[in-house]
């Protein structure tokens, strides 16, 4: 016995593959599984094997015969189908593209921020972009002719109307309309007369406000820590440092450990290891007085952040003006 049944099988399958017309396939069939074919020969020669090996080898030879029979049938029907005009296609050519659109990165980051706070039980509120001096400043405890107003370069429409410089007027508008307990998140466009690598005359803010009985500065730290961990990751450290906003007291700037260098110091964080991303504080009692909340009973906190700044950190964007040029080569990356 010169060839094993497995060798015969491999050889036959190769021959079926190589055959490209009916005649050639039939020749392979005759040669291997015909009445005088190789397999028949093999079965005949079984008697040369030791007695105990004969049943196994016989069974295997019949399996191979069946397998070859099926391969030959398939090959014949493939040849028939080709003959009937069913031409194969070049599967490597590009498909018709299912074009998708892209959400603006500012919208995406705004959604990410709002979604985190929605999961924490905050509702969304929106309001006018052209705002009265009362809501933008006075009700937020920025008196007229107070240097605190210099902190925000304001676009004026008239003596009493401005483009809102922050989303904070919505704190007042929402508190005037709804009673505590209140948890709101306020995204929107804001305007400041400033333009350079890190400032555009319009940008987006997300403001948050929580008012209830017994809200503490520690709670503000808790909520913002959860936010930063969700927005960046659990390893992102935070620090709170005293600051000043007329509408919060105490006020705190929130720095996060630089997401680029992890605190080692790099160009993005001006080698400080920290990035300023949030302004926050406990709601100033003057605001509660202005909206008619009981200032003795309720406390609360507020915070605000620039969406573009966070998007710039997240995506390594170095020029804020790119957000509003709407270059498809930029938008198509998000």
């Amino acid at each position: 016995m010169d060839k094993s049944i497995e060798d015969i099988k491999d050889e036959a399958l190769k021959a079926i593959d190589a055959a490209d017309d009916r005649q050639a396939v039939e020749a392979v069939s005759t040669r291997y599984i015909g009445r005088k074919g190789v397999i028949t020969q093999f079965l005949r020669n079984l008697s040369n094997l030791p007695k105990e090996d004969r049943p196994g080898a016989g069974k295997r030879a019949n399996q191979v015969k069946e397998l070859l029979q099926k391969a030959i049938t398939d090959a014949l029907s493939a040849i028939d189908a080709r003959a009937a005009g069913d031409i194969e296609i070049d599967v490597s050519l590009p498909g018709r593209s299912a074009q998708r659109g892209y959400l603006h990165p500012v919208t995406q980051v705004t959604h990410q921020i709002c979604d985190i706070f929605r999961r924490l039980g905050f509702d969304i509120a929106e309001g006018p972009e052209v705002e009265t001096d009362y809501y933008n400043f006075q009700a937020l405890n920025f008196p007229k002719d107070h240097p605190a107003r210099d902190m925000q370069d304001t676009f004026f429409v008239s003596d009493t109307v401005v483009l809102r410089t922050h989303t904070s007027p919505l704190q007042i508008r929402t508190m005037e309309k709804y009673k505590p307990p209140l948890r709101i998140i306020m995204p929107g466009k804001v305007f400041r007369c400033d333009s350079d690598l890190t400032h555009t005359p319009m940008f987006n803010q997300v403001e948050g406000l929580m008012v209830d009985e017994h809200i503490s500065l520690g709670d503000l730290k808790g909520i913002l820590t959860v936010f930063v961990h969700e927005m960046f990751d659990e390893q992102t450290g935070l620090r709170f440092r005293p600051s000043f906003f007329p509408f919060t007291e105490p006020s705190a700037e929130v720095d996060i450990l630089c997401v680029i260098c992890r605190g080692e110091g790099c160009r993005v964080c001006s080698h400080s290891g920290w990035l300023e991303i949030l302004g926050s504080g406990m709601v100033h009692p003057a605001l509660f007085e202005n909206v008619g909340y009981e200032a003795d009973r309720y406390t609360g906190f507020a915070f605000g952040m620039g969406v573009e700044r966070i998007a710039m950190l997240k995506y390594g964007i170095d020029d804020i003006r790119k957000f509003f040029e709407n270059d498809m080569r930029f938008l198509g990356q998000f």
């Binding site: 659109g101 959400l103 240097p147 429409v157 500065l217 600051s243």
Partner: protein
């Protein structure tokens, strides 16, 4: 605010290095922006060795030296009498900027090149010796930078102060914070009483006619003063915080302002008419020349310091040329006042003139430091300018600024902050920054703030001080209980989010353009004079000419975006934007803000590929988007009708449809007008749609109910109508829907044809109606009957016929 470490050290002994000090100040709320060394300007001054001196060929008193800087010999023309071979001396290289602002250049002095300058102590700002070049002693390495060679170092902290902390607009204020952090003591300057002769009331007087503007005005008089350059120590202090010395009298006023935060002014007493001061508001339209030589137009809200005849200073902002200290001045009247902060701010802003003085007054100086600062200035002027002090001080004080007692509950403070501090700790923290604290009972503290803390009025202000000094980062992080709060409506937000998803699903990319536009935008869109979009909200102080008004349409922004992309060879765009437009409303203070959805499609319908020839997008592509959007929003009964030509300002007539939902107009869809494309410098056409989002949501079902699905087979029948070309083909579909036949499942318009066998002025419109019943298998006969009936009704409605 700049503070140098050396100056701070005069009042508090600092036991931290510069970077720790910077961090510490930042963490108590005095944010340090940068730390620089004040001797950095000497980094281009090297230790040089003079190796050769030859007389200048063309100038008797000059020499030409060769100075070794370690790696080369620098030729220097020098006029100093004390140059010697082998002498070590400071060599300033070209580019060095001296304290007086001058910059050293490489130059040629009478034919000899000079590539540096050998400097004296005075020139370097390191001492008072001006007799010759500074001879450096000891074994200094040639070529080293001077600050390193002489170990000159003085860190300067640039502090970005928030407007609530005017008390830190002086070195003493910052030193006070450092002392509180370090728990060490603060050494206030010693001001000995040194009154000499006469009585001030015999020489001058102060009359305050505007007590609201000027609650307090104090003055002292000095006589026999010699105006001269300040001594080195005084110049050095001013230089350390970046102030340029002028003369001893002015320098003292600046020094005391930097030391105590109280701005002062020195008048030449002999130039004051009638030798007296009157504090009053200006006459409307009066002009006045300030110290900087500029003529200022005054308003009647501005406070002027006047003599017996005329104004001599803009109170709290800037002095006048007419009473300035000059070399010949002998008698000096020093002013120390408390001006009302809002008035000063208003004056400074109206004049466009911010000064170190107005910066402090508008934030609020210490109203009880007026006379102390005055005494300090008098003491120093006598010390540096000779002369004598006239006895007595004028302290006109028509309005007292009182300090309130604030009652603070320790328990409430802890609950508010989330801390667990003892009442005693709170008291200690407050006392460390000079608050006066009395413990009333186990919970209550009565606190009086120091006069310089003009920002503290309420218990929360004290809580902030306690939190700040005990450290924000030591406050435990807790999580508030989330009680069942007020629910806010979210429908409009949900609709917008839905639209964002649908539009991106259709392959459109979201753009965000500025909410501004140019006032010329309306002209570019060819809007008529009475168009509502010309009711623009103007910005009084725009940054650029293309951002002068709030946008009244999203189209200018989208067309500009198209232009920007085209200039980068990106010509195929599918863009959309949701955003507000602003329409002036003469009846309301605020404009109407309307949220609009706009889309733009330009260029190819599909990206270039092997499977089909490139085709440009057209009207029916963008219309399909609008139809798909309405379908996705579940808005039915939408009608598209030809936009009348006289409304096609920026749209192309005959290629634009108005969109109505339930008979109310919600927007339009179509092609941009050719002229408008040209106005925007666009070379290819664009298709757009605009929809008023606020008008969409009322037509959307609040609740969606699923239709049952029939298990019986459908039957399709076609109709072809021959009708007048003038009839909009879409009307056929609307009409069939209006019949409201229960068995009609769907309708497709599958062919519109003109010409050929169809008579002129007519067209054929073919629709396929699919019939299906929810209850049974439809019989051919019943359907034929219904189909004939529908056909008849359509023929009547459109005066149509059937094909022959």
């Amino acid at each position: 605010m700049k503070a140098s470490l050396s100056w701070l050290n005069q009042y508090v002994s600092i036991d931290m290095n510069a970077s720790d000090l910077a961090d510490t100040l930042t963490m108590v709320g005095l944010e340090v922006d940068s730390v620089t060394d004040r001797y950095e300007y000497l980094n281009t001054v090297l230790v040089g060795r003079i190796v050769e001196i030859v007389p200048h060929p063309n100038a008797q008193r000059l020499t030409v030296c060769k100075v070794d800087t370690g790696n080369r010999l620098v030729p220097v023309v020098c006029g100093a009498p004390n140059v010697k071979v082998n002498m070590l001396a400071p060599l300033a290289l070209p580019g060095t900027q001296f304290l007086d602002g001058t910059v050293l250049n490489k130059n040629t002095i009478r034919g000899e090149t000079s590539e540096g300058m050998l400097c004296s102590e005075v020139e370097l700002g390191l001492g008072k010796d001006r007799s010759g070049i500074l001879s450096l002693k000891g074994s200094l390495e040639v070529g080293r930078k001077l600050p390193q060679a002489l170990s000159l170092s003085d860190p300067v902290f640039e502090i970005d102060l928030t407007p609530n902390r005017p008390d830190c607009l002086c070195i003493l204020g910052i030193a006070r914070e450092i002392a509180a952090i370090q728990k060490t003591s603060l050494a206030y300057p010693d001001i000995p009483v040194m009154e000499a002769e006469g009585e001030i009331a015999d020489h001058t007087s102060v009359t305050i006619e505007a007590p609201d503007h000027c609650p307090r005005y104090a003055a002292r008089l000095l006589t026999g003063i010699a105006v001269a350059p300040s001594p080195f120590w005084l110049q050095d202090r001013l230089n350390s915080v970046g102030l340029r010395p002028i003369n001893n009298i002015v320098d003292v006023t600046n020094f005391v302002m930097m030391e105590t935060g109280q701005p002062l002014h020195a008048f030449d007493f002999d130039r004051l008419a009638e030798n007296r001061i009157v504090v009053r508001t200006a006459a409307m339209g009066e002009t006045f020349t300030t110290l900087d030589g500029k003529d200022r137009k005054l308003t009647d809200e501005m406070l002027m310091i006047c003599d017996g005849e005329k104004p001599v200073a803009v109170g709290g902002v800037m002095g006048g040329l007419n009473s300035e200290i000059e070399k010949t001045s002998r008698r000096v009247l020093i002013e120390s006042a408390y001006f009302s902060p809002p008035h000063i701010r208003k004056t400074a802003r109206t004049l466009g003139l911010g000064t170190d003085a107005s910066h402090r007054f508008e934030r609020g100086v210490d109203p009880e430091n007026t006379v102390t600062a005055l005494d300090r200035a008098a003491q120093l002027m006598i010390e540096v300018g000779g002369g004598k002090l006239i006895s007595g001080v004028i302290d006109a004080h028509p309005k007292k600024i009182s300090r309130n007692k604030v009652t603070l509950s320790a328990g409430r403070t802890n609950r508010f902050l989330g801390t667990d501090l003892s009442q005693k700790t709170m008291a200690k923290l407050l006392e460390s920054i000079e608050f006066k604290v009395d413990i009333e009972d186990a919970d209550t503290l009565t606190v009086v703030h120091p006069s310089f803390r003009v920002d503290v009025h309420r218990p929360v202000d004290l809580m902030e001080e306690i939190a700040r000094l005990s450290g924000y980062n030591d406050i435990p992080t807790t999580f508030p209980p989330i009680s069942a709060g007020t629910k806010l409506p979210s429908r409009d937000l949900d609709v917008r989010d839905n639209i964002l998803r649908i539009m991106t699903g259709f392959g459109f990319t979201e753009a965000i353009n500025y909410s501004f536009m140019s006032e010329l935008s309306c002209d570019k869109l060819r809007l008529p004079a009475d168009d509502f979009r010309r009711r623009m909200v103007e910005i009084l102080n725009p940054l650029t000419e293309d951002q002068t008004v709030m946008r009244t349409s999203l189209i200018p922004g989208l067309l500009e975006t198209m232009h920007r992309n085209a200039s980068q060879q990106v010509r195929d765009l599918k863009l959309f934007e949701t955003g507000k437009v602003f329409i002036n409303n003469s009846l309301e203070e605020l404009p109407d803000e309307v949220e609009i959805l706009a889309g733009l499609w330009t260029g190819l319908r599909k990206p270039v590929s092997w499977h089909s020839a490139p085709e440009d997008c057209e009207y029916y592509d963008i219309k399909g988007v609008v139809e798909g959007l309405f379908q996705a929003l579940k808005i039915d009964n939408v009608k598209y009708s030809r936009m009348p030509n006289d409304l096609c300002f920026y749209m192309r007539p005959g290629h634009t449809a108005q969109v109505h939902v339930n008979r109310s107009a919600v927007g339009w869809v179509g092609e941009i007008n050719d002229q408008v494309l040209k106005n925007h410098d666009l070379k290819q056409t664009a298709f757009i749609f605009e929809l008023d989002m606020s008008r969409l949501s009322p037509h959307m079902p609040e609740l969606q109910q699923t239709r049952s699905i029939s298990k019986y087979p459908a039957i399709a029948r076609d109709i072809t109508l021959i009708m007048n070309i003038g009839i909009e083909s879409g009307e056929v579909l609307i009409k069939i829907r209006e019949f409201d036949e229960a068995l009609v499942e769907s309708i497709q318009l599958f062919s519109v044809f003109e010409g050929g066998p169809i008579p002129a002025g007519k067209k054929s419109v073919s629709v396929r109606i699919t019939y299906r019943s929810i209850k049974e298998t439809l019989q051919d006969e019943a359907i034929n009957q219904l189909h004939r009936d529908i056909t008849d009704r359509l023929m009547r409605a459109f005066q149509a016929s059937l094909p022959v």
